[in-house]
């Protein structure tokens, strides 16, 4: 886990100030574009990466000062790597590790509010500063009766500011994600719902427990235990999971066997959730996974759980099958059901979008088409990025008047992109198991 975070200086206070913050960043991004085109006139060979890097730095700076939901959106964008140019990704991945911490008196106050006791009265030891930042809270380390615990405390007022923060992020996302407004609103509504869910710590404890019990039989996975007596709406107490983040672990040069073992555990974990439980830990960002001694994969933070509706499940995975054995009519029906195309589309649009989605899905389904898939293969990811780039720059797509893909798809796609990316980071080769009916 990262060392002590630096306590932050001023946090923008009012909505106006926060808006101002965004505005100034907007101005900077605009400025970066200007600079880019000016430079390009002098030196036509300059590539866009530099521009992206400048933009990413400015945007990241502004987002990290806002924390709360804005940070969460940054995280989400960093997940959807297919949507973002490379330079943004690295910056945003940083957002997953660092956010400014709360002062200790406020931590004490939060404890007194919910338990009527100070942290010192509840635990044997309790760290004065946060040891780690979660997107909408921070983590302190405590001990009690010889056990090491992680105590997550939510920032006050986060639940209230979710909606207004998302409105602030909107113009940015519009520009960054290259989406049209309708599409973005479609996306934002689902994000907002999930964010609000994430502020409900009682629900999180309940879900964490459910999923960890259901997945307890999978080899090489470790789940923390949750403690009700030390948890409330704003505080969650669980076992401390000692270990390294995936990136740090990779720096220790693990063997290929170890990498495959971790990768397989990750794949099995998601396989069981998606195909058997039909609800999934939809936040596979690197900060939620910890590699422990003996190559065990620890899983924390069940704030974001997506329930997959049965009919969506059927349609979505029918498309992933290697040979589409279904006929054109059935395929059309699935596209309608998943809201990829609708009656509002012209015939040309229908044909175009069907083609694009088929290409996209067959690409994403690739790991499912073989027994074993090597995620270290960067070429596969290049293909995904290229397709993403091509689509988001395509006129047909940008002019399209409506959102594409059912909102359930947002999280399921995000989850799969997330897993693929993690497996790629792990350079793992895994047995890509699938349910009988998909074989």
């Amino acid at each position: 886990m990262p060392d002590k975070l630096k306590e932050q200086g001023a946090i923008p206070v009012t909505k106006v100030q926060r808006a101002a913050k965004f505005f100034s960043t907007g101005a900077k991004v605009g400025g970066n574009y200007m600079k880019h085109y000016a430079k390009k006139m002098v030196n036509p060979s300059m590539d866009k990466e530099e521009l992206h890097l400048n933009n990413a730095t400015d945007i990241y700076k502004s987002l990290s000062e806002l924390k709360g939901s804005a940070l969460k959106v940054a995280q989400m964008m960093s997940m959807d790597k297919n949507l973002l140019p490379r330079a943004y990704q690295d910056k945003f991945t940083m957002a997953q590790y660092s956010a400014p911490p709360l002062s200790y008196p406020l931590v004490v106050k939060t404890f007194q509010k919910y338990f009527g006791k100070t942290p010192e009265q509840m635990f044997d030891t309790f760290t004065r500063s946060a040891v780690n930042a979660a997107s909408i809270g921070q983590v302190h380390k405590a001990t009690k009766d010889g056990k090491e615990l992680a105590v997550k405390i939510q920032y006050p007022g986060v639940a209230d500011s979710v909606s207004s923060d998302l409105k602030l992020v909107r113009p940015f996302a519009l520009r960054l994600l290259n989406m049209n407004e309708r599409e973005l609103d479609h996306y934002m509504a689902e994000v907002e719902e999930k964010l609000l869910e994430e502020t409900d710590y009682i629900l999180e404890v309940q879900r964490s427990r459910e999923i960890s019990e259901e997945c307890g039989h999978i080899p090489n996975l470790k789940f923390p235990k949750y403690y009700d007596e030390f948890s409330s709406e704003r505080i969650i107490t669980m076992d401390w999971i000692e270990g390294k983040h995936i990136k740090e672990w990779m720096d220790t040069n693990p063997t290929q066997k170890a990498k495959n073992k971790i990768g397989q555990a990750l794949w099995d974990f998601y396989h069981h959730q998606v195909h058997n439980l039909k609800q999934v830990h939809a936040d596979p960002h690197p900060g939620n996974f910890i590699v422990q001694e003996g190559d065990q994969l620890g899983i924390i933070d069940f704030g974001c759980v997506k329930v997959i509706p049965e009919d969506f499940y059927q349609g979505y995975f029918a498309l992933i099958k290697k040979e589409l054995l279904i006929n054109e009519d059935e395929l059309n029906q699935i596209f309608y059901d998943l809201e990829f195309i609708s009656d509002k589309d012209t015939d040309v649009e229908k044909a175009y979008f069907k083609g694009v989605f088929k290409e996209m899905i067959s690409l994403l389904g690739k790991p499912f088409h073989v027994e074993k898939f090597d995620f270290a293969d960067n070429q596969f990811f290049e293909q995904i990025f290229q397709l993403g780039d091509r689509i988001s720059n395509d006129k047909m797509f940008r002019k399209s008047r409506q959102a594409r893909g059912s909102r359930h798809g947002l999280y399921v796609n995000r989850t799969y992109f997330g897993i693929y990316n993690l497996l790629n980071q792990l350079e793992a080769e895994v047995d890509t198991t699938k349910p009988e009916w998909l074989k």
Partner: protein, 221 residues
């Protein structure tokens, strides 16, 4: 000896009865009582007896503010960790606890101050004594902050830091009066953020280096 202490307790009780009676009156009527005579009568007390403890309604209101403040100080100082806090944390801890104490009297405070909350920039007379006591407390924190160099000593301005903290405290009070968020979470956030800002401003910053440099340029010309 015995009679003396007995006398003292009855005396204290009278004071308390008046304070509680006043709060109750405001809570039930939504405004301050009209006359001391009527108020004393309701408490089954002679008017002159009332004057042994308080000279006017103003002084009752003032005593309530002071009482809240004293209780806050008592509570923060009872926390062991308070002594280990930095100046910034001490002030945060004070405000968080103070808001909790205010909460116990929220209805009373609302009926007296809510309608005026927009114009509360000018301080009601009855808060003057509380302000004096607060400033003593604030100066202690500031002095400590200067010793640990958490707060920068600047000519002229740094003598007004206690005023600045007072202004901030009053800002928090106004914010809290208008706060409608569950459990007053927004007030917590407002305290956290505004105190961080205040202490960052009081701390050594780029501004000091800038002024120093400007002075140097001016003098060496």
């Amino acid at each position: 000896m015995e009679t003396a202490s007995a006398k003292k307790t009855t005396k204290k009780d009278h004071r308390k009865v008046i304070l509680e009676g006043y709060k109750n009156y405001v809570l039930e009527h939504g405004s301050a009582p009209k006359s001391v005579f009527k108020f004393a009568k309701d408490l089954k007390m002679k008017e002159e007896e009332f004057y042994t403890y308080f000279t006017s309604f103003e002084s009752i209101k003032s005593a309530i503010w002071v009482e809240i403040f004293d209780e806050t100080i008592r509570q923060v100082e009872s926390q062991e960790i308070f002594r280990e806090y930095s100046a910034r944390e001490k002030f945060l801890s004070f405000l968080f606890t103070w808001i909790e104490e205010l909460k116990k009297n929220r209805s009373y405070l609302l009926s007296l101050y809510e309608s005026k909350s927009q114009t509360l920039m000018n301080l009601p007379k009855e808060a003057a004594e509380f302000k004096d006591k607060f400033k003593d407390f604030a100066n202690e924190i500031i002095l400590e902050g200067k010793e640990t160099e958490e707060i920068a000593s600047r000519p002229i301005i740094s003598d007004r830091y206690d005023e600045a903290l007072w202004f901030q405290t009053w800002f928090v009070f106004r914010y809290w009066l208008d706060d409608r968020s569950p459990r007053f979470e927004k007030t917590d956030a407002a305290i956290e953020k505004s105190v961080n800002l205040a202490f960052d401003l009081m701390g050594k910053s780029a501004l000091d280096s800038f002024l120093d440099f400007a002075k140097f340029l001016y003098q060496s010309k």
